[in-house]
Amino acid sequence: MWTIFWRTLKDRRILLLIYTLSSIALLWMYIALFPSFKDQSASLEALIKNYPESFLKAFNFDIKSFTTLEGYLATEQFSFVWPIMVIFMTIGFSGSALAGEIEKGTIEILLSQPISRAKLFFSRYLAGLLMLILFVIFSVFSVLPLSLAYNISFSSENFMTMAVLGLMFSAAIYSIGIFLSSVFSDKGKVFFISGGLLVGMYVLNILSALKENLSDLKYFSFFYYFNPAKALIYQQIDPWAYGVFLGVTFVLTTLGLIIFSRRDIAT
């Protein structure tokens, strides 16, 4: 099992490096620009106050979005660019992990070895999960040395909260991808369905903030529970986020394992 695990990590290391370095480069840029934003925080605050409340809610803007490093990064990096990177990375990896192998026919060499399907599933699953953990750690905690380099004060506890929230959010998306990858024999379907599902969730969250009568729709969206502004500015995670993200991760991973172990695999 660990042979496949390590080999998977080895094969994906360049991809992980590209995602992580891109994320760090973006962070570096935002942190380098932060002092000039802070200088104009009074006018930005006034500007934000003029926006409709529902708009601010929909896009996770907070009054402290430009006055503190945490708020600024929550808005600029962790509410938009970072989730997109996580989604691309997790769906890309999960689609290739099982469905991609079936599509290319390389699964045959693995299935003809003395390893159970459950071990094969977990070796791929855990390799992807470790990649996610590494990405979250580097892409969140690299803020600390970068902030020190630019003499910007920060609260490391808040970034720890952000890392926990980010990890749960990533794991839930990853479990959707792995589940679909266990069901289908074509990674294109995994990308299409999981991408569609996440876009749908994003739209639901925006709609729920814009219209009062649609507000309950937010509960069906990961993007309601994934609130970087709350995590970074107030060091808070919605209590329901634990249940939703961890529940989805557990249920879909278990279902994926059961389906992959029982299904016919024909390349």
Binding site: K104, E108, A266
Partner: protein, 315 residues
């Protein structure tokens, strides 16, 4: 104890009966050919043996163990080679070999096979020719000296030189006790390699025969040239049919006892007589036309000999 024992295996995909109630056994040290055209159910059967597909019903035992419940235990002792080897594009042959050695925690005879097959293990899989890809597949299948080797059309698209090299290596492994089960639609290959053959048609096993017994089915082609007048209608009876008219003669197909025809011929003045055994291809095609379902085929005795000889693959 048979190495492979298949009992009443059925595999349906919805309403499609890919494999329909087949039973057979393969004994230790045997080379068993699984013969049939594309879509007959060969690959589905192999995938059930390897537990890639789960049977709709029926039982498969390999090395005395249940092929589904004990799949990973069985796979310590068996190997698989597909005719269309698909491996990791970015890995070299060496990467694949080391990966499998680490996965199994076993030493292998890969180096010897590399030298026997004159294979370069340092090239990436994506840069290998189809022949070299197949060589790598064969090395990976044989490097742990399996007790049972399962192959799905292993020489598909390979040049005759490489085919022969593969046959030589497989012969050596059989002599060392490896049981070989392989599917093919190449009759020459089956003739060259197998002890026994199972013939599958539309998901059903229509015959299991020793190659030697198949050849003894006494199908003959008779070319007769007459020195005097003859009535061609007299040569269509019981087991004899006219294949074609020859100048002052006939080409006849005979199934079974040839003495009936010989006795008939004694009534005529013969100038020249040529009797040849039917090939394995002729015999194989007999199974495929038995119930007349194969619309593209004609009964043996109605087919021209040239056509029979020109069917290396039944696609």
């Amino acid at each position: 104890m048979p190495i492979i024992e298949v009992k009443n295996l059925k595999k349906y995909f919805g309403k499609t009966r890919a494999v329909d109630d087949i039973s057979f056994a393969v004994e230790k040290g045997e080379i068993f050919g699984f013969l049939g055209p594309n879509g007959a159910g060969k690959t589905t059967t192999i995938r059930c043996l390897l537990d890639f597909l789960r049977p709709t019903s029926g039982k498969i035992n390999i090395l005395g163990l249940d092929a589904n419940k004990n799949s990973d235990q069985i796979k310590h002792k068996i190997s698989y080679l597909s005719g269309d080897v698909r491996l990791y594009d970015g890995w070299t042959g060496e990467d694949h070999i080391k990966f499998l050695e680490a996965l199994r925690g076993q030493k292998s005879i890969a180096e010897k096979l590399i030298s026997d097959l004159n294979f370069n293990p340092r090239m990436k899989f994506k840069n290998l020719s189809s022949g070299n890809k197949q060589k790598l597949g064969l090395i990976l299948a044989l490097m742990f000296e399996p007790k049972l080797l399962i192959m799905d059309e292993p020489t598909l698209g390979l040049d005759p030189l490489l085919q022969n090299k593969i046959y030589e290596i497989l012969d050596k492994f059989q002599k060392k006790g490896t049981t070989i089960f392989f599917s093919s639609h190449n009759l020459a290959e089956v003739d060259r390699m197998c002890d026994r053959v199972g013939i599958i048609k539309d998901g059903k096993l229509v015959a299991i025969e020793r190659i030697s017994e198949l050849k003894e089915k006494r199908m003959h082609t008779v070319k007769v040239y007459f020195a005097g007048p003859f009535n061609r209608d007299e040569f269509t009876f019981e087991n004899t049919k006219i294949i074609k008219d020859l100048p002052e003669g006939l080409e006849l197909g005979v199934k079974g006892d040839i003495n009936l025809l010989i006795r008939k011929l004694t009534n005529f003045n013969i100038r020249e007589l040529e009797i040849t055994h039917a090939t394995l291809e002729d015999i194989f095609l007999e199974f495929y036309e038995a119930d007349g379902q194969n619309k593209n085929s004609q009964p043996y005795a109605d087919r021209e000999q040239n056509d029979l000889m020109a069917i290396p693959k039944l696609e």
